[in-house]
């Protein structure tokens, strides 16, 4: 219809105006803080210098990247597998989907507590292991001496907590793929794996893109679970942001960290958009 030209903008207006007022305005103030020296003054990069000069900066960047680069691909694979499973199940699939989406409703703080109950020295993992006679008594699992165990615990907990959001987006995307494609492929004798590879994956690209971008962005903000499981042993960017803002009361450096997180997220988003760009142009 004729209103096609202005209507989409009119529809976006409320959300845009809202985000402008409640996100962009405060954001600009914070962003300015990152470039303003303490106590006011002209533009300066001092806060960024302080940030980079801190010995925790390197480990925080490295750990955040390592966690993101392991967690996100792992979650993608798991979410794809689970989404396929959900689509295969016929009866009571709503119950299956419900169970699998439960972690979506659990905050990262609560999830940290849940997994701490498993991994702590007198936790469930040790209880089970000693019950099975594998170990004689409580063992320290979460220790700075076993960094890889710390990483593994954080990864496990993050995968448990945050795969659900990818799952729902992918299930949604799969629901949009016309069944005829699968039937046609089946007629041509494509195996289930081939059908997944040749039909599901390419047609799922838009959803996959959204899910990946969203998860990557949130993964760079990983904090509560790390704090719960790894304590001060594992520095991450978000943790440093908190520490500078609240423990060291230096809003400038905290803002610099926040901008860094944003910049990394934007960089990765662009990378993902490029890597998963729609080469066919068939689907909008």
């Amino acid at each position: 219809m004729r209103e096609t030209r202005w209507l989409p903008y009119a529809l976006l207006l409320p959300a845009t105006a809202f985000l402008l007022a409640f996100f962009l305005l405060p954001f600009i103030e914070v962003a300015l803080n990152a470039f303003t020296p303490k106590g006011g003054g002209p533009f300066s990069l001092n806060h960024f210098r302080t940030m980079i000069g801190d010995w925790k900066f390197g480990p925080a960047v490295r750990n955040t990247f390592v966690l993101t680069l392991i967690i996100v691909p792992l979650q993608t694979i798991l979410a794809l597998a689970l989404a396929n499973l959900v689509m295969k199940v016929q009866r009571r699939a709503d119950v299956l989907l419900y169970i699998l989406t439960i972690p979506l409703g659990i905050s990262d703080l609560a999830a940290g507590l849940i997994w701490l109950a498993i991994f702590e020295q007198t936790g469930y993992l040790n209880s089970i292991l000693s019950g099975l006679g594998v170990i004689p008594g409580p063992q320290t699992i979460l220790s700075y001496q076993n960094m890889w165990v710390l990483f593994a615990a954080v990864i496990l907990a993050e995968v448990w907590r945050a795969t659900a959001i990818m799952l729902v987006i992918l299930v949604a995307g799969m629901g949009l793929i016309p069944r005829e494609y699968y039937e046609a492929a089946e007629v041509f004798g494509a195996s289930a794996w081939k059908r997944f590879l040749r039909i599901t994956l390419p047609l799922l690209k838009p959803s996959l893109q959204t899910a990946l971008i969203l998860r990557t962005i949130l993964a760079f903000e990983v904090f509560a679970i790390v704090a719960a499981l790894a304590g001060t042993n594992l520095q991450v960017l978000m943790g440093e942001t908190y520490a500078w803002q609240f423990d060291f009361q230096d809003n400038g450096v905290a803002s610099a960290y926040a901008l860094l997180i944003l910049a990394i997220s934007v960089g990765f988003t662009v990378l993902l958009l490029w890597a998963l760009r729609d080469r066919t142009g068939v689907r909008a």
């Binding site: 905050s107 997994w115 299930v171 926040a258």
Partner: protein, 277 residues
Amino acid sequence: MKAMSLRNPVIRRNGNFLIGTAVVTACLWVLVPLYFLAVNALSSPKAVIGFPKPAVPQFNLESVHFFATYEGVATALLNSVLVAGLTMVLAIGLGAPAGYALARFDFPGKSAFRLVVLMTRAFPLPLLALPLTVLYIRTGLDDTALGLAFVHTTLALPFSILITASLFLSIPVELEEAAWTLGCTRIGAFRHIVLPLAVPGIAASAVFAFVTSWNEVFAAAVLTVQHRTLTAFLLQSLDVSPLPLKFAGAAALVLPTLIFLFAVRKYLFSLWGIANR
């Protein structure tokens, strides 16, 4: 297989053992950690601290009782529901039109809009809290459910936009066009055709907005004073509380979302446009 089919999803092809196993494994993966939480919440403080941990709950309600008698819990619960409800309404009210625009139109700036909306989640909220609080105190939004709901809406909005977009995408545009040719205005077609088809999905995506608000701690702790939400009221001090209370409190916060999600589980599929396949 038979016994299992009563409680677990049943598989398309009978005897597809592999899928059955996968379903059970996936469910256990999600449920076992929650089960441990439940056991801890329902065990005596001594058992929670001790070793080895009990495998089954003792149904000791000491920790639960603590929260039940904690002054202000009821009010905080009410505030939480109020804020989450408002967030739900706002996130859908603002997000659904935007989602509809993304689903139905091709226009310059579309991908930029998507990107910017996603990017709002890439900035740590606690840093925005200070300027927001100053703004709120000056405008009188401070310590109101609506004010907090606004902040929670910024968190929930990217999801509600993306989810509703995919929802509208799953409703064939021809249905709408058919309605136009049959005498509907654009709004009329939306009301008579799109909305009824989208309502279950919108309801489910509203639940996600609800849950987002329910779980948010930081802004809630800063922006509410007398009208605290349950999460700000409890969760923020949980990690400095004794272990048994930690678990009981966490369980108290997880439980409502479980119930809420369960209530809309039927819609979870329609949310994704699968129901009519």
